[in-house]
């Protein structure tokens, strides 16, 4: 028994010694880890702390123009954001993303049922009705039906003598060159190998607008982005004038009458551009 007792005692003593040794090792490991972490902090480049915002994309992907435009817009926002520790990630939407992503670009009619408390940048719809609903978190980068119709009227009134039925009003055209449009057209073609269309521009503008809001300090909340869009955005859409949103969430923008692949003019043009842009997109909120 004594033997057994001794062994028991010895085992206990050893057990105490092991425990003390483990405590010492744990403490030294902790200190080592702490020192390593502090050294890591000292030498870590400040810019490593990039904050990422996920943007959902609802609509056709692949070679769809709006999707391509949105991709370029995200890339260019990230070229800007890398200097300010901000990043955007474009994620084609799945139904399970509904509850986890608060910012969406629509490239088509929503393929999934999005909740009402997310911010939507619609690059597809031209519906007047949707704009007149004035949802506080819904914005439109594509021109509305009314804008397209009014631009056509303004073009005809400006003295066009040809057959206006053959003229198309577009938000963008790949032959545009003024106001650095040529540079944007070149970047798009270099990236995707195809010409930039109106739909691609709307997708690009949607992504760049979200990027501007994020990089210029909006909080990662839909209401913070909406406030930025309605109160302070001054967007360079490479159309030669600062673009902003109307109360309906419509992006004010210059449009282009195009005939047989040739841009004939820009609407509006000349002085009082903002007033004319308002006249072009003068829908009112029905429910506000």
């Amino acid at each position: 028994m004594a033997f057994l007792g001794e062994r028991y005692t010895v085992r206990k003593v050893h057990a105490r010694a092991d425990a003390a040794s483990e405590t010492l090792i744990s403490t030294s490991r902790l200190i080592t880890l702490l020192i390593t972490f502090m050294v890591f902090l000292v030498f870590l480049p400040v810019r490593a702390w990039t904050v990422q915002l996920v943007i959902g994309f609802s609509g056709k992907t692949g070679s769809n123009d709006i999707f391509l435009g949105a991709q370029l817009g995200i890339d260019e926002s990230n070229r800007q954001g890398k200097y300010f520790e901000k990043e955007l990630l474009l994620k084609p939407g799945e139904p399970e993303d509904r509850g986890s992503i608060n910012f969406w670009i629509l490239g088509d009619n929503p393929s999934i049922d999005l909740p009402s408390d997310v911010l939507i940048m619609d690059a597809h719809s031209t519906s007047d009705e949707e704009r007149e609903r004035c949802h506080a978190l819904q914005f439109f980068s594509a021109p509305s039906e009314t804008m397209l119709a009014r631009a056509m009227s303004a073009f005809v009134v400006s003295g066009y003598t040809g057959d206006s039925k053959e003229v198309e009003i577009l938000a963008w055209h790949h032959t545009l060159f003024k106001y650095a449009a040529r540079d944007l057209n070149r970047r798009y073609k270099d990236r995707f190998g195809v010409e930039m269309t109106s739909q691609a521009w709307s997708g690009w503008a949607a992504a760049r607008l979200l990027g501007e809001a994020w990089i210029r300090g909006s909080k990662p909340r839909p209401d913070s982005f909406a406030k930025f869009f309605l109160d302070s955005v001054s967007f360079d859409g490479q159309k030669g004038v600062a673009l902003s949103f109307t109360e309906t969430g419509q992006l004010r923008q210059v449009l282009f009458p195009v005939l047989l692949g040739k841009v004939l003019s820009e609407i509006p043009r000349g002085k009082e551009t903002i007033k004319k842009l308002d006249n072009l997109s003068a829908l009112k909120c029905v429910n506000r």
Binding site: R79, Q80, A180, D183, R187, I215, A242
Partner: protein
């Protein structure tokens, strides 16, 4: 009668210049984007005395520190054309990298800092050896470039990312990036390099920076929606900034300290580049859609004369001569 008074006024103004040290060989150099030339204007007579074919799409224009050479950025030749200011002939052409638009010359060593709009880079060129010393990635569509009078910092504006990149010299490392109003176009330093200013075309803003602490210290937004701030020149003795406004067709005068607006001078259509005499009494603007240079009397804040130059004048630089 008005013409008579104007003639007397012009005579007095130019007579005043004749007596200054700037008068003898003083010239105004103008790049003409539309016809690939540089117009040479005699400052005393305010007449075009020569037109030089320089190459495709000349835009940015500037002088070497000893003013013996004129540099012109040729956007479609991917080159800097070097003009001998005595013979008025192109002496050589430097490889600039793709699509050079604007540049600044380091006053300390003569190196050329230029923006490559297509590539999103800034290139540093040694005009003597013709070698590229550095190629530095910056934002998208880089445009305006300024080098501090001390030769220790360069600023590059990037139009499509709304950024201003501060580069250290000679390391050519980016030490700071400023976020400014949409489409920043040009930048300029104060004579001691402690302050810099940047114009933002679409944002209609002029932003002032403390270049010691590298912080933004003031900003002003021009009210008129037609104004598009582009060119900028600082008149340090007057403590004033002159800013061209593109299709606003004006030059706006700001207090350089407070950015308070002091006045507006109507010039020609789509006014782009601007330069001033070293005595700060006169300024010159490139009025792109009028094919003219406006001569501004800074004291009276009036245009004294408009001079026909080549097609679509873009940049302008005053050369005080020797």
């Amino acid at each position: 009668m008005k013409l008579f008074i104007f003639s007397i006024f012009l005579g007095l103004a130019l007579g005043g210049c004749t007596s200054s040290s700037e008068s003898t060989e003083a010239r105004i150099w103008v790049s003409n984007e539309g016809d690939n030339t540089v117009s040479v204007i005699n400052f005393r007579t305010l007449e075009v005395v020569a037109t030089i074919n320089v190459g495709q799409r000349p835009r940015g224009i500037g002088l070497s520190p000893n003013r013996e050479e004129l540099y012109v950025a040729l956007g479609e030749d991917d080159a800097i054309s070097v003009v001998d200011t005595k013979t008025l002939e192109v002496s050589r052409v430097l490889d600039s990298g793709s699509d050079p638009e604007m540049f600044a010359v380091n006053p300390k060593n003569g190196h050329i800092y230029l923006s490559n709009e297509d590539e999103g880079t800034a290139t540093v060129l040694d005009p003597v050896s013709g070698k590229q010393i550095a190629v530095i990635p910056v934002g998208i569509e880089p445009e305006g470039v300024a080098v501090s009078p001390t030769g220790s910092l360069a600023l590059v504006t990037a139009e499509a990312t709304n950024t201003v990149h501060v580069l250290s010299i000679p390391e050519h490392e980016e030490i700071k990036t400023f976020l400014v109003g949409p489409r920043p176009r040009e930048a300029t330093f104060s004579p001691d390099g402690s302050v810099a200013y940047v114009t933002s075309e679409i944002g209609r803003e002029i932003t002032k920076f403390d270049m010691v602490d590298l912080i933004e210290i003031a900003k002003v937004r021009l009210e008129e929606v037609e104004t598009k701030p582009k060119g900028i020149v600082l008149l340090p003795k007057r403590n004033e900034l002159l800013v061209t406004t593109g299709r606003g067709n004006t030059v706006v005068i700001l207090n350089a300290e407070t950015l308070e607006r002091l006045g507006t001078i109507g010039v020609g259509k789509r006014v782009w580049g601007i330069s001033s005499t070293t005595d700060e009494n006169f300024a010159f603007t490139a009025d792109g859609l009028d094919d003219e240079v406006s001569v501004i009397d800074v004291n009276s804040r009036k245009v004294l004369k408009k001079i026909k130059v080549g097609s679509r004048p873009w940049g302008v630089v005053f050369d005080p001569g020797n």
